[in-house]
């Protein structure tokens, strides 16, 4: 196995509430609470979780767009947790981002030429001219756009075309890591697969590592080699994409899987039955007021007393990854086995 390009170790990101005149101090929001993962070149790590689980905060922390509270981020072995100003430009050349909304993430007053080209000018010092034009054309070709797109403005393109431009813009600086934060979430399903294929081709051609963030477990599994499941700032389960999907060890992962509709009616009926066992009406706790124990305990169909008292540590799961759930450490120990049969028997017993 090659050395990882990106290593995230015990990352914490907390947003301190500011107190202002006539306003009571806002509590600290704990968006990310000690997550660790690594991505090798040529590989894709998928991060899934519902809105507010801290996925995008992880992305911003790695991109140096928000301050890290604790933990370490390493790029190619070098610490980049807090990049000093003079090293920022070199850092930006190595990590790039493709953001969620293809409409608001492109500047409406700039042509594709400028959108893709300004990174080339900034990082390679190539002023606008024939040489830069050649590079932009090559990048557009890489993402499957013809040269006529050079003069287009964002509003003249479809969502899929815009997202291709976003990818070309990220590729322009030849980064080692691209963070795709919900890069396909705003697109139609058919366009999603086109954009995903573009991402795959780009990875095959350049060897770039991807951090793919999404809330659709099916899509994330499809593109990722490894996945991590986030819940309220905790990485509750991580492992190989297929392993986590086929043998989910955490009840929350199982809930995410069950929430995706499937075409087979029998399987769909099974998933619906499974979904019934989760406490749908219960809101997840607020990240500014996290419980002492497992944050999923109040929605978990098989929660035990210990779950509200102690946050479980990571234990090895049978799919080869880790899970943070007391079912695997105490009480009816599953010891890394899949949680599905257990939830099912628990729900029928009720």
């Amino acid at each position: 196995m090659t050395a990882p390009f990106l290593e995230v170790e015990n990352l914490h990101v907390h947003f301190a509430g500011r107190s202002r005149l006539f306003r009571s101090a806002m509590p600290t929001v704990k968006a990310v609470n000690g997550i660790s993962f690594a991505i090798e070149p040529h590989r894709t790590f998928g991060l899934v979780g519902e809105s507010g689980s801290g996925k995008s905060t992880v992305a911003r922390a790695i991109l140096q767009l928000t301050d890290v509270t604790a933990g370490t981020i390493r790029l190619d072995g070098a610490d980049v947790t807090r990049v000093p100003r003079e090293a920022e430009l070199a850092f930006r050349k190595r990590v790039q981002a493709v953001l969620q909304d293809p409409y608001s993430s492109l500047n409406q007053v700039h042509q594709v030429r400028t959108i893709v080209g300004d990174g080339i000018t900034r990082h390679f010092g190539i002023k606008p001219g024939p040489e830069r034009e050649q590079r932009i054309l090559a990048l557009l070709d890489e993402v499957g756009l013809a040269g006529e797109f050079l003069d287009r403005y964002p509003y003249e393109m479809s969502g899929g075309q815009r997202q291709r431009v976003s990818i070309a813009r990220a590729l322009a600086v030849a980064p080692g890591l691209i963070i795709a934060d919900e890069a396909t979430s705003a697109l139609d399903v058919s366009i999603q697969s086109q954009v995903i294929n573009v991402l795959r081709r780009v990875q095959a051609d350049t060897g770039v590592a991807f951090l793919f963030i999404g809330h659709d477990l099916d899509v994330v599994r499809h593109v990722s080699d490894d996945v991590g499941v986030m819940y309220l700032g905790y990485l509750v389960e991580q492992g190989g994409a297929d392993g986590v999907y086929d043998l989910p060890a955490h009840p929350y992962t199982e809930m995410l899987i069950a929430s995706v509709p499937v075409p087979d009616p029998a399987a769909q009926a099974e998933r619906r039955a499974l979904r019934q066992t989760f406490k749908k009406d219960t809101e997840p706790p607020s990240p500014s007021d996290l419980p002492v124990g497992c944050p999923f305990a109040n929605r978990c169909p098989v929660a035990m007393d210990i779950c509200t008292e102690l946050m479980p540590e990571a234990t090895a799961a049978r799919h080869g990854g880790h899970v943070r759930c007391h079912l695997h450490t105490s009480g009816p120990v599953l010891a890394g086995e899949s949680v599905v049969p257990y939830i099912r028997s628990a729900s029928t017993a009720r």
């Binding site: 991109l63 767009l65 920022e88 430009l89 850092f91 930006r92 050349k93 990590v95 790039q96 981002a97 953001l99 969620q100 909304d101 608001s104 993430s105 492109l106 500047n107 409406q108 007053v109 700039h110 042509q111 300004d118 990174g119 900034r122 990082h123 403005y153 509003y155 976003s166 813009r169 600086v173």
Partner: protein, 318 residues
């Protein structure tokens, strides 16, 4: 872009006609039967004199005929003669005064937009910061106090105490360029102060939004310089609503010049219009309303063009 400007120009034709109708109608509505001829004949006018003057001036013709006649001669640049002084043509009166008004309004827009943009950008870079709060209080004060009052206070130091600027009167650029600038600076500042506040507020809000947008976030992630983030990425977007606000303000400033013209004792279009109203000088009133209306149209055209330059969407869609 040429096509866009062409369409804008064509759209001005019906507007021009509407301005002509309104200018004519308002002036005519002011004239009581016989009042024009009365003011020509002077006090103690005889009925014969009035009838003769009315025939001479064509005032006894039906309204539409009078309008067409007026419009036809206006198209050739002849707006008739002043009723209070038959030897002076309305065109020459306007030509004599429009320079002062236009230079004050244009100068005030330059000052107002430049200062307002600088303040708006400083505010938006750190919204809620010390600079932002100070500037927002300042612009609230500028909106609350009439600009010419503040300009009078300024004139105490700048003109009376230190003698840098002229406290009153208008010097033509043909007489002395520095004299001209010294004479229009204070009125222009007076007119510019509300513009500053308006531009600061509008730009602050649109610029704050632009700086928080995803495209700026993406540009930050690409390592784009901070000055370029503000100037090349956020500002062109933030200027789109601001230009619209500046266009409104330009038209309003043209209407408000009479206040600073009175305060700084300048003979401009504002005083010409107000005098014409007070003396029921119908021909002067019609002519100057028409000319001011045309100037507003031209200002609108310029706003539309700069709007098109800023916003590629507008440029190509229409």
């Amino acid at each position: 872009m040429a096509r866009y400007i062409g369409i804008r120009l064509l759209a001005m034709i019906p507007l021009l006609f509407a301005i002509a109708v309104i200018s004519f109608a308002i002036a005519v509505a002011m004239e009581a039967r016989g009042s024009i001829a009365g003011s020509v004949c002077g006090e103690g006018a005889t009925i014969e004199c009035i009838a003769q003057v009315e025939r001479q001036l064509g005032l006894d013709d039906p309204m539409p005929i009078r309008f067409v006649r007026w419009l036809a001669s206006a198209a050739t640049g002849d707006l008739g003669t002043s009723l209070t002084n038959q030897s002076v043509s309305v065109s020459s009166l306007i030509a004599d005064r429009i320079g002062a008004t236009l230079s004050i309004v244009a100068y005030s827009l330059v000052i107002g937009v430049a200062a307002g943009m600088a303040m708006g950008i400083v505010s938006a870079v750190r919204p809620g910061g010390v600079a932002d709060r100070a500037l927002s209080v300042a612009s609230a004060a500028l909106i609350a106090a009439p600009g010419f009052v503040l300009a009078m206070l300024l004139s105490w130091w700048l003109a009376v105490e230190w003698g840098w600027l002229s406290p009153a009167g208008y010097t033509r650029p043909s007489e002395s360029i520095t004299g001209w600038i010294r004479s229009i600076t204070l009125p222009a500042i007076g007119l510019a102060l509300p513009t500053v506040a308006l531009v600061q507020r509008q730009l602050r809000s649109s610029m704050t939004n632009a700086l928080q947008s995803r495209y700026v976030l993406a540009a930050r992630a690409r390592g784009i310089r901070r000055t370029s983030l503000i100037g090349e990425h956020a500002l062109p977007n933030a200027m789109i609503p601001t230009v619209t606000a500046i266009g409104f303000r330009a038209a309003a400033a043209l209407g408000l010049t009479f206040t600073v013209e009175v305060v700084f004792n300048i003979n401009g279009m504002g005083t010409l219009l107000t005098n014409a109203i007070q003396t029921r000088n119908v021909t002067v009133l019609q002519g100057s309303m028409l000319v001011v209306g045309i100037v507003v149209l031209v200002v609108n055209l310029l706003v539309d063009i700069s709007y098109g330059l800023l916003n590629p969407k507008v440029r190509l869609e229409r």
